[in-house]
Amino acid sequence: MSAAAVSADKLSAEARRAISALLVALAEFKQILGFHYAAWCIRGPSIEANIALAGMAQEEVGHALVLGGLLTDDFKHAVPSKDTVVTWLRWSEHSGSSALSTMIESWPEMIVTCLALDAAATATLEALKSSAYLRLAQRAGKMVQEERFHLTFAIETARTFATMPKEARVALAARYQRELGEAVARLASAEDLSRLAALGLLSQKAVEARAQFLQGVTRRLDAAWG
């Protein structure tokens, strides 16, 4: 831990507000990722990929549950219900362009979009691993460990897109960058994290760790599909 560990009830009102907003955003991301993976777990290219997607869906929903538990236990904050985030019925009716609320019908697009969402969420959890709010720091560490496999799944699957026509790959790369930018901004901007640092909840080093984590994922992706 980079700062003295504190429990949620010792946090200032401002810190409690900032952390609970971040927890809500993370829980929503986890629910949405769970939906995307579950939607594809019978449509992947192989039985191995399908089982992996089912496992990843389960883990994402499990993470949402853990984050929701922190919200109710430590902040007496209502947990974002999965039905307020998205439902199977509403999802298929959506026609918006945001990947957060629409079903993705193309395998390569689903992979790069979920990689962007997963990378943004995991990079934020990477920063939270050293949070002074101990209960969150401990859970973030466990989630980051599990997410390593999700990121490798997406990056290694993207490796198979290297043989796609160049225009298609350029379009996928553009989609990844767009989704990543939107996801990072929606979860917690650099300013939001700096505010958490100013409130003593994170070190400035942790804020930098998120940026480095994201750069690392993008580098791995670039190396994978050339």
Partner: protein, 68 residues
């Protein structure tokens, strides 16, 4: 993804550091890295201490034709 570019990997795991590795299954994958992810996700019915994958082709020896 072309299934033709996939190869078979044997999955080995052990429950404790002092246990020998045992073969727990097979996955088809395009690279070692994704084979490992598939192995972790596909064979997680037990809390394995260690798990590893290796290309089936890396084994030398007479094998039943069904496994070649």
């Amino acid at each position: 993804m072309s299934r033709a570019s996939e190869q078979r990997f044997w999955v080995f795991a052990r429950r404790a550091q002092t246990d020998p590795f045992e073969q727990v299954g097979v996955v088809k994958a395009t690279s070692e890295a994704i084979a490992y992810v598939y192995a972790r996700m596909n064979y997680r019915e037990r809390p394995w201490q260690d798990m590893c994958v290796t290309p089936q082709a890396s084994f030398y020896g007479p094998m039943p034709e069904s496994q070649q």
